[in-house]
């Protein structure tokens, strides 16, 4: 029997007040995998990530590393090892780069190991060290996205959820960010679930992908297979 996936979602519903945005979705992220969550604007990508960490009201099951996450808030998801890099990056613009990073490690007690994580993160993003006293709001969009990822890594997470990291960024920056995600995944064994509208870039980085349409998963499979399937590409991926 294969080991259970790190993240296992089934029959997940999410709603905003009376309006249901997710109508029972199922997905899984294997340990060490990069999984893409694709779909047009309004398909439910953000809602899916929010449902997993409990930012929105949900029904259904979310299991992470064998624990049921349902009924817990995002604060507990963070403690269990899920770094949620939210839509819009969650940059704390009036705080410094250093403060942003330290807040990433908020749940960790061992200061020595936190500084160890800081060294590692600076290895990926050397400019962070030079600009740690700068207000995060003065960084460029790409830098803010990298800071958001770096802050997530400060948590030493097992799983990282990224909500449209490519949004509003130049193609060259997007490629840089996805290359970094692959490095982080390979070197540190951080599993990744990335929501994207930038289909090509996401599928090239991911091993598996799910395509969402109005709150339902309509297609899923290995990314290479999805990339090769012209029918799927035309009907669901829109190019």
């Amino acid at each position: 029997m294969a080991a259970a996936p790190l993240l296992e979602v089934s029959d997940l519903h999410a709603s905003y007040g009376e309006i249901e945005a997710l109508h029972g979705i199922a997905l899984g992220v294997e340990r060490g995998a990069i999984v893409a969550l694709l779909g047009a604007n309004g398909a439910g990508k953000t809602s899916t990530l929010r449902a997993i960490t409990g930012v929105v009201k949900t029904k259904g099951t979310v299991r992470f590393g064998g624990n049921a996450l349902n009924g817990h808030g995002p604060e507990d998801a963070a403690r269990l090892g899920i770094a949620h890099v939210p839509e819009g990056r969650g940059t704390m613009g009036a705080l410094t780069v250093w403060e942003n990073l330290m807040l990433g490690a908020y749940t960790r007690r061992d200061r020595k190991r936190v500084l160890g994580s800081y060294e590692r993160v600076v290895g990926y993003f050397p400019w962070l060290a030079e600009r740690k006293k700068q207000l995060a709001g003065t960084l460029s969009g790409g830098e803010q996205q990298m800071l958001a990822i770096a802050r997530g890594l400060m948590m030493e997470p097992q799983l990282m959820l990224l909500d449209e990291p490519s949004l509003g960024l130049a193609p060259i920056v997007v490629r840089e960010i996805f290359a970094l995600l692959k490095t982080i995944n390979a070197r540190d064994g951080v599993s990744i679930l990335v929501a994207e509208q930038n289909t090509t870039v996401a599928l090239e980085a991911a091993t598996h992908a799910y395509v969402l349409e109005t709150g339902r998963i309509v297609v899923s499979g290995e990314s290479q297979a999805l990339l090769r399937d012209d029918g799927i590409r035309r009907s669901y991926l829109g190019y």
Binding site: M92, T107, G137
Partner: protein, 293 residues
Amino acid sequence: MQELAQQVVSGLASGSIYASMALALVLIYRSMNVINFAQGEMAMFTTFIAWQLVQQGLPLWAAFTATIAVAFVGAVLLERIVIRPVERAGPLTIVIVTLGLLITFNGLAGLFWGYVIKSFPSPFPAAPINIGGVAFSSQDVGIILVSLASLGVISLFFAKTKLGLAMRAAALYPAASQVLGIRVSWMLALGWGLSAVVGAISGMMVAPVVFLDPNMMQGIVVYAFAAAVLGGVESPLGAVVGGLILGVLLNLLGTYVEFVGTDLRLAVAFAIIVAVLLIRPAGLFGRVSVARV
């Protein structure tokens, strides 16, 4: 010259009270976008507790310390029990609740301690203190030192500790904070606790001057609110500077400008504030947010 120096120091003394109360208001405003209208009454109520402890025979500084602890714990509990249930109901609901608290604390103080004005012992010597050949009221100097020290401790807490940083983050960026594991709702409660501590200190500092009665903080809270708006209601530093400016300004106006006297001080203060806000709508220290996409 000598009189001017005395008037400035005396203005700084009332200013540091306004500054402390303004800071208490700003701490809560920043995290909930709500003015806690009960802030002054909470300060008054805790000052009565200090008075009661002194009546029971506790030394003044012990009563002072115990009151600070009671204020902190009491306000955290108050937030958990009364504010928490309406936390997500929107600012207007919370404002109504704080108005309810205002009335409740005022009524309870009247019920427990009556409306007869009481004298509150001063921790400072009665003899004036001589600085550079000028005699200043020890009371004034003491109030300034204690208030500024407590404000200094609070700002160190926010600047240097992990919890202080998390409280700032939770106030400004609640959604981004909670996915990092910060318990935003508890940070609000801690903010209430800290605000109540600052309020209790100002209540105990000002009570020997204005005397103790259930309505003693009401005028002060109006000035504190004015100070917060003047400094920029989002900015703790602005609240403090706004309070000090207001205190000095009002005192000088009252002393040197014949027609202002004591009666028109508040009106003049508000005229000045309106003028400042016309030029700088965010207040003196209100920051125009920096953001790039």
